[in-house]
């Protein structure tokens, strides 16, 4: 067998293996636009889990390719921008800081319950879809949990319009924007966070943000907080 033929066969094998390898997609610190809303007059602190600084999700399509998406610090950026726009006073606190030493009306702890995505070979369509289930826990200034709110966000993007990497990135960004929109619309209604207003800020009526698509946006409500004393 000639050297050229061997090289050609090796090249084809490498291309074949690479073609089955899926892709690794990275989100480069996506941002959300500044929302057109009135701020809630609250002093709020947020504490993020460590995974918000480096979130990677891998998915193996059975018998086919392996996909990986690296959200990096995207969740930290999303929630910091979002809460910074929603409340008159907002700060992020480290996990080492004791919240009891600080003054605020509410402490928010967002987390990710689940992250899933589907690729065109699974859905038999041209679409990449991303589902994210966030959980938002809210504590009052005494550290008592007042809300435990799960939210489900969804984003979809077509691979015919974007490259596969871009389509998955875009679907993830759309899912995060969907979560942001849902939080803006429903957070006060579902968690009652505005009732935690203390003496830190001037008392005014919170804005009413009723969704136009009430049938869709109202599909979420805070879960009852389990009685941990029993």
């Amino acid at each position: 067998m000639s050297l050229r033929l061997k090289t050609s066969i090796a090249t084809l094998v490498v291309i074949g293996i690479a073609g089955c390898g899926g892709a690794k997609v990275t989100l480069h610190n996506p941002t959300i636009p500044k929302p057109l809303i009135d701020q809630l007059p609250l002093s709020v602190a947020a504490r993020y889990p460590a995974v918000f600084d480096n979130f990677v999700h891998e998915e193996q399509v059975i018998g086919k390719e392996k996909w990986s998406i690296d959200l990096g610090r995207a969740n930290r950026i999303l929630f910091t921008q979002l809460f910074g726009s929603m409340f008159t006073e907002f700060r992020v606190i480290d996990n080492e800081v004791n919240p009891q030493d600080l003054e605020f009306d509410a402490l928010i702890e967002p987390s990710i319950d689940a992250f899933e995505f589907s690729v065109p070979s699974q859905s038999q369509t041209d679409d990449f879809a991303v589902w994210i289930r966030y959980r938002i826990k809210i504590f009052d200034k005494d550290g008592i949990q007042i809300a435990n709110w799960p939210i489900a966000a969804y984003g979809k993007s077509q691979s015919t319009t974007f490259s596969t990497d871009e389509a998955l990135q875009r679907a993830a960004v759309l899912a995060m924007r969907d979560a942001a929109a849902l939080i803006i619309l429903q957070m006060d209604k579902s968690t009652g966070i505005s009732k935690l207003r203390g003496t830190n800020v001037q008392q005014t009526s919170p804005p009413s943000v009723t969704p136009v698509h009430e049938d869709i946006a109202l599909q979420t409500a805070a879960e009852e907080i389990p009685d941990e004393s029993s």
């Binding site: 636009p33 929302p35 057109l36 809303i37 929109a181 136009v212």
Partner: protein, 227 residues
């Protein structure tokens, strides 16, 4: 000598194939239903949006871009504001989850802080909501191809039918009302005969629907026809 080089058989075949590709035959029907009078002033623009995928809409992003480009081009072109710019400027009120599904949601939307001001600042008079998609509805035939040391080729015949059905709902943000609907239904059958070389005869239904819908939308918006 140069002329002889231009008319080589390969080039003639290429020209013939290009002509065949472009000559795909389609049938189309474009209709509009007017609910209110329209018209557009100097400095006013439109934005082309896809209906929410939360509501099951599958309109292709490239179709939306095509309609926007077609409406914005030509001597009678309208000012088309890119939908990403519009959606970002009005975040979170035109996200797939939050965008109003009916015009009765417009007064509530316009009363939200900053929304009416932002729409005025952007000069948006009409929002055009696109719905629909292109589907392969039938197909058949068979074709086989083979390749060997001495060359290769295909033999057979394949065909498929595509239907492009799109509807554009025009909302007037000045009157907060539904101005009407424009629809385009385009159907076409593509053929792929092959005797050694496959010769595609493609019916470009989506492209035809885009141009037909864009032309009709332009007329619909600029017309001062009474209801």
């Amino acid at each position: 000598m140069n002329r002889r080089r231009i008319l080589t058989p390969q080039r003639l075949l290429g020209i013939a194939m290009a002509g065949a590709i472009l000559s795909g035959c389609v049938t189309s029907r474009v209709e509009n239903i007017r609910e209110n009078t329209t018209g557009i002033g100097a400095g006013e623009g439109i934005v082309i949006m896809a209906k929410s995928y939360h509501l099951g809409n599958e309109t292709e992003a490239k179709f939306i871009a095509c309609v926007g480009n077609s409406i914005g081009s030509g001597s009678t072109g309208l000012r088309v504001v890119p939908n990403t710019e519009f959606v970002d400027a009005l975040f979170p009120w035109f996200e797939p989850r939050t965008a109003p599904a009916e015009t009765k949601g417009l007064p509530t939307l316009m009363s939200r802080p900053g929304v009416a001001e932002k729409i005025k600042e952007k000069g948006i008079r009409y929002v055009v909501w696109l719905d629909g998609d292109t589907d392969k509805v039938a197909g058949g035939g068979s074709m086989s191809c083979a390749a060997g040391p001495g060359g290769g080729g295909c033999f057979g015949f394949a065909w498929w039918q595509n239907d492009s059905n799109y509807e554009a709902d025009v909302w007037d943000l000045a009157g907060l009302e539904d101005a009407g609907t424009v629809s385009a239904d385009v159907s076409g059958t593509s053929f792929l005969p092959a005797i050694v070389i496959p010769i595609p005869l493609i019916a470009r239904t989506q492209n035809k629907a885009c141009n037909a819908l864009a032309d009709q939308l332009k007329l619909f918006i600029i017309s001062d026809e009474a209801v």
